[in-house]
């Protein structure tokens, strides 16, 4: 059959193109523009080349923020993934309590980020917060506003509270897809609980766990709102993660050039890490197929 040629069909793509241009491409190009120019206002730009990039790459401030960021992502992944799996394994498989658990688990995920931050900011306050006050009453010296370790603990616990559900729900979905016959076969083979987990549950959950880890990594690497609301990056710079630092630089000090260079590198790092992660995982998978 002859295909009719109708170039008007391109117009159908146009709205998407316009939306994407305005929402992503144009803002990104603005950032690129700032990153290679210096400006003193009045929309006057002076070519700076890669100067800002050089400055940022060698900046110890950025290195420190990156170190904190990696530490933070590492800690929350190390807690949330095993904890999420553990919760999923212990959730009821069917009946009323299964639904009840699912709803309860989903609740933290539905709360807006700044609300989560505010909840924990108040919860942890020594004067009026339930947690802070209770700890103080027990004689534990806890104050997230002037102790770095306390601030870190608060921010990590908050993230665990907020996001472990996501890992748990994904792992639960993976577990639910395992046919009953596998468990029956394991019983017949006298497999221990650990062997059931290691050889049946974990391999079947692998796919969703990879997604969970990737999502949690990207999300935690870009975390901004919650620690900003709770600690504002302090005390000192102890909880100043990359995006908090970036905002300080861009709208606090108004160093638009360095900030633009910073955000482009930030974006590339996340892209690179996610890509490496994904490639390694899919390659592992392919190797096992052989």
């Amino acid at each position: 059959m002859e295909k009719t040629v109708n170039q008007k069909a391109w117009f159908l793509v146009l709205p998407v193109l316009v939306i994407v241009a305005f929402s992503a491409i144009i803002p990104l190009m603005t950032v690129v523009n700032y990153s290679v120019n210096d400006t003193f206002g009045n929309n006057e730009f002076f070519w700076a080349g890669l100067e800002w990039f050089e400055e940022m790459v060698t900046s110890s401030r950025l290195h420190d923020a990156l170190g904190r960021q990696i530490l933070f992502s590492g800690i929350i992944l190390a807690i949330e993934v095993p904890l999420g799996i553990f919760i999923a394994l212990n959730m009821p498989k069917s009946g009323f309590w299964a639904s009840a658990c699912l709803v309860a688990m989903a609740l933290p995920l539905l709360i807006p980020f700044n609300v989560v931050g505010t909840i924990w900011q108040i919860f942890g306050r020594v004067d009026i917060g339930l947690l802070g006050h209770a700890l103080a009453a027990l004689g534990i010296d806890y104050n997230y506003t002037n102790d770095s370790l306390d601030a870190w603990i608060t921010v990590v616990v908050m993230d665990v509270w907020h996001w472990t559900s996501l890992v748990a729900l994904l792992a639960y979905a993976g577990l639910q897809s395992i046919p009953q016959a596998y468990y029956q076969a394991a019983k017949i083979d006298q497999a221990s609980r650990w062997a059931v987990f290691r050889f049946i549950e974990l391999p079947k959950m692998k796919g969703v766990l990879l997604i969970a880890i990737l999502l949690r990594f990207m999300d935690s690497f870009m975390i901004y709102t919650e620690p900003f609301v709770v600690t504002g990056g302090g005390p000192g710079n102890s909880t100043t993660f990359l995006s908090i630092d970036l905002v300080k630089m861009a709208v606090g000090q108004f160093d638009l050039g360095p900030a633009a260079a910073f955000s482009i590198m930030y974006f590339l790092v996340i892209l690179l890490v996610s890509w490496v992660f994904y490639t390694v995982m899919t390659n592992l998978d392919r190797e096992e197929q052989k």
Partner: protein, 358 residues
Amino acid sequence: MARITLKNLAHSYYPNPTSEQDFALKEMDHVWDDGGAYALLGSSGCGKTTLLNIISGLLRPSQGRVLFGDRDVTDAATAERNIAQVFQFPVVYDTMTVRDNLAFPLRNRGMDTAYIEERVQQIAHMIGMEEVLNRKARGLTADAKQKISLGRGMVREDVNAILFDEPLTVIDPHMKWELRTQLKSLHRQFGHTMIYVTHDQTEALTFADKVVVMYDGRVVQLGTPEELFETPAHTFVGYFIGSPGMNLLEARIEGNRAHLNGATIELGATYAPLTGHTQIGIRPEYAVLTNGQGLPVKIHRVEDVGRHRLVRAEAAQQPLNIVVPEGMPVGADMTHVSFAADKINVYADDWRVQGEAA
């Protein structure tokens, strides 16, 4: 290996069953011989899998006992029963190699490494998978995986029985034949008690020495394939076994005669007066088209199925199937059908009635 005894066994999925309707498995008493090859045959939902799960210990029966040999295992856990089960879909541990899969039940029981190695080699030889021992199980085909789960069952020497839950469902037709043959030869060689659940009569009849036909939670007949074919104990067996199934004709029985809507035919035996819903059953293979003898018949159509032809007809206003051997002409003069008198079975309320020799 062990003889399996089912004593007053019944099962209901309701906590407090009141009527017989509530029972997925109606009360039964059976003894299955050690080393026998049994097939549980029946349509979906007839209780085959329930019975299998009771034997394997995945379900505890609501009443009655299960004995392996002389040992009462009703309350024993699956692992203690030393049974093996092959499931409908291949259940293998994907991330392990074939070798580890086969060794898994032995390792879990803390056997000695040298013994495990030797035993795995033996089993791999039996199921013909020596070449792939070091491969990961996940890349293998469905039939290879089924072989692994079979091998994993047989790797334990003390296995009491091997249970098969429709194991060939996901296997390609040409591999089905091969696997079934292999099963049979393994059975002959090692003499494990094997119980094979299926809804496919060809599988059941070719695999088993004894076929257990189930219908609506009840065992309606336990017999050799020949018995099921020649003397079905229940109209369901007649209908379910054979292709097509047995012809069932409404009839009134009087001594050694059956009256069908005015026509009368001779039976091979004499029957005491029967009450209830009476029928006669005749296999399509034992009905012969003639040019004058027997009942008048109206032929609707003839289907050629290769080895023979199948005549869809009507006699005494009831549908009737007749198998006509290849080569015999079906002409316009074939106006009657006659039945081999000794092949006619008589049923009262669906159950076969034994007649006295005439």
